[in-house]
């Protein structure tokens, strides 16, 4: 019997995948999907469970055994979190992370949006060449910038300051931001700008009143992307903010805990989960916009 002899028509319509096999939702398929989801979740689940376990028990038995005593109060505690927030400065690091991340997201997207608008809609000499230069900068790894910028920062007393790391993150994010926003903004219909300029709107007004509102999907996608990238960054923070002190952000604080509290799993697990809370929250609430952004940057939209 050939494949063509089997009924090809799919009763469920096109909402589901077109090439779905006759083995649709067969038992092996279901089991392998469940196994994959389980494998991908277990490591994080172990961390989360352990962060609430009584510190005396955490190295005495596996966290999965702790789950057998789910309703025994002496097994569970919040003290790990209290200790990490106060003792390991995770509370201050949380505020520092916000101070670093929000401007490091807003500034590059603003600067990039203005530049992308000019590259797309204001004719000027050297436009094509400069745009190619900006895109070409995508190939420069940020490691190339570390030594010279650190030297400048030491001289200009920008080392260890929030302003310093904002500017660094801004510049490192710019090539990709300009590239992605240009791809979006240059596709807006020309008529929009023509009627705006007949109405006497300046470029600034056209940008603020027409381009920004229409670009919300692209701006939103890049915002999420940059936010997660800056929030999770360790390298740029270690180099420009330094290894510790008043200004350390959450990844730096967690990194230092690995060094100083390597064996104290009750604190490490709680600290790690604290650093993950914001990204998880952002990710789970804005997953669709995030996916759209990833796809815009990688495949034809």
């Amino acid at each position: 019997m050939t494949a063509s002899a089997k009924p090809i028509a799919r009763s469920r319509g096109r909402r589901f995948a077109f090439w779905r096999a006759p083995m649709l939702e067969s038992l092996p398929l279901r089991i392998s999907v469940l196994v994959i989801c389980f494998l991908w979740t277990v490591p994080t689940a172990g961390l989360l469970v352990s962060s609430f376990r009584n510190p005396l028990l955490i190295t005495k038995s596996g966290w999965w055994e702790g789950l057998l005593h789910l309703f025994e109060a002496n097994q569970w505690t919040l003290s790990n979190y209290q200790q990490v927030l106060a003792g390991d400065n995770m509370g201050a690091a949380f505020l520092n992370s916000l101070i670093v991340t929000i401007p490091s997201t807003v500034i590059p997207i603003t600067v990039a949006a203005f530049a992308a608008y000019a590259f797309a809609w204001i004719p000027f000499r050297g436009r094509g060449f400069l745009f190619i230069v900006v895109v070409a900068l995508l190939v420069v790894p940020l490691q190339m910038a570390l030594i010279p910028i650190l030297k400048i920062y030491s001289g200009a007393s920008l080392y260890g300051t929030f302003v310093g790391i904002w500017l660094a993150h801004t510049a490192f994010g710019l090539p990709l931001a300009i590239f992605l926003l240009y791809n979006f903004i240059s596709q807006l219909p020309r008529d929009l700008f023509e009627s705006a300029s007949i109405d006497g709107a300046s470029h600034f007004q056209a940008f603020v009143q027409i381009v920004l509102p229409l670009s919300v999907p692209a701006l939103g996608a890049f915002t999420i992307f940059q936010f997660l990238w800056v929030w999770n960054d360790l390298l740029v923070a270690l180099v420009f903010l330094g290894p510790g002190g008043d200004v350390q952000i959450m990844p730096t604080a967690l990194f230092n805990m690995i060094g100083s509290r390597g064996g104290s799993w009750h604190l490490l697990t709680a600290g790690a989960f604290l650093t993950m809370m914001v990204p998880l929250l952002v990710f789970l609430t804005l997953q669709r916009a995030f996916v759209r952004g990833i796809l815009a940057g990688s495949v034809k939209s």
Binding site: A3, S4, F16, F18, R20, E25, V33, I36, C37, W40, P43, T44, L47, S50, I58, T59, K60, G62, I99, I102, S104, V106, V111, F114, A118, I122, F124, V134, V135, V139, P141, Q143, M144, A145, I147, I149, I152, L158, T161, V163, W166, A171, D199, A201, S202, H203, N232, L238, F255, L268, T275, P279, V282, F283, L284, V291, I294, L295, S298, V299
Partner: protein
């Protein structure tokens, strides 16, 4: 548009003054942000002003309302960082628009792209050139090839080997698994939910992911209970407990697995979208020709989504070449698992050998260059499709 214009012209009379005041405030904010203990000092001055010298004294000694000072600093930071950049663009545009049209049209584009070009020049173009030059200089600035020739010696060959292993294993692993997961999940009803489970790790920091997996890899002597998941399973099957994350050579695949765990979700999302974009006619034609499911997938679908596979592979490949956080948090590269980016950091901050660090950065640049070119070419081809 027209009514908005009249409204604008009424507003525009005091807009420049408002912008100027805003910019001055932002400049003052930057001063506070750059100054060490700026937040504490500002709050202390305020306490002095309202007659609370004790509170001010405590703050200056690093005690008292430190958290309040931090909050104050955060508020200033948000005003300066978020508001300042908008004031800057608004102010410059408003100013330039008052110029005679001839000048205005010539200057305005530079108001829009100027800040971007300035930042890119200072933070990428100049440093890239300076780093390449620096890789040919010794500590005193004289010309030398020593930084480069030293990369051909034992420990550095090991580092380059590790980067090569990372590049191949992490990229192939993430793309392969991503493709598999995308294909499998494509056939189930609750696809979106299932994908979320695999995609979530992508949002986590590499440092956090390293802690998660260090806990999975945790090792105890055989006499003790194994609370690390992997060793618990391993010993249950009769194995001796293995220090997965610290013992060479098993530590390298153990670290790479963290990256694969993180990146598979990204590969899955992109490839899944690509698979859904393959046209129904092509599939049905292949089925009519008698292709079985495997032939259909590898013979028809994979070639069609080739562009997306290249995109995913190059994106993950670049991230893998620059890998830093995982190795840095796991061992600092001390267990024969060192990689270029970690070693560069060590050279900078432990050995203070900027010349060699510059050479290592340039190695990364050279390695990333061809991968990025493939990526951009592929992107353009896809756009043209």
């Amino acid at each position: 548009m027209a009514p908005a214009r009249t409204h604008e012209s009424g507003l525009s009379r005091f807009l420049p003054i408002a912008v100027l005041i805003g910019l001055l405030a932002a400049a003052a904010g930057v001063r506070i942000l750059i100054e060490p203990h700026g937040g504490q000092n500002l709050l202390a001055s305020f306490y002095d002003l309202i007659g609370n010298p004790a509170g001010a004294e405590a703050l200056r000694n690093g005690q008292g309302d430190q958290f309040l000072a931090k909050l104050l600093l955060a508020a200033i930071a948000l005003f300066v960082g978020v508001g300042g950049i908008w004031l800057l663009f608004t102010g410059a545009s408003t100013l330039v628009e008052r110029f005679p049209p001839k000048f205005r049209d010539r200057i305005l584009p530079w108001v829009f792209i100027g800040p971007a070009l300035l930042l890119l020049g200072i933070y990428l173009v100049y440093p890239a050139v300076a780093t390449i030059i620096g890789s040919f200089q010794d500590q005193k600035g004289a010309f030398t090839l020593a930084n480069w020739s030293s990369l051909a010696t034992g420990p550095f060959l090991e580092i380059l080997r590790n980067n090569a292993i990372w590049l191949v294993a992490a990229t192939a692993g993430s793309v392969g698994l991503g493709l598999l997961v995308a294909a499998l999940f494509d056939r189930i009803k609750r696809e979106a939910l299932a994908k979320t489970f695999v995609f979530v790790p992508y949002a986590l920091s590499l440092v956090g992911a390293t802690v998660i997996w260090s806990f999975v890899y945790a090792w105890q002597p055989a006499s003790q209970p194994q609370f690390g998941l992997l060793n618990a399973i391993w010993t249950a099957f009769g194995g001796e407990p293995v220090p997965w994350s610290t013992k060479f050579p098993i530590n390298i695949p153990a670290e790479i697995l963290i990256m694969i765990w993180l990146q598979t979700g990204f590969a899955m999302v992109v490839l899944s979208a690509a698979i859904k974009g393959v046209s129904t006619e092509v599939i049905e034609a292949a089925r009519l020709d008698g292709a079985n499911e495997r032939q259909l997938f590898f013979g028809v679908i994979v070639p069609i989504i080739r562009g997306s596979i290249i995109t995913v592979a190059t994106t993950i490949g670049i991230a893998t070449l620059k890998i830093f956080d995982i190795v840095m948090s796991m061992s600092g590269g001390r267990n024969h698992d060192d990689v270029v980016a970690v070693r560069m950091f060590t050279e900078m901050f432990q050995f203070f050998n900027d010349g060699r660090a510059a050479a290592l950065a340039t190695v990364l640049f050279i390695a990333v260059l061809p991968v990025m070119v493939i990526n951009l070419r592929n992107f353009r081809r896809q756009q043209a499709m």
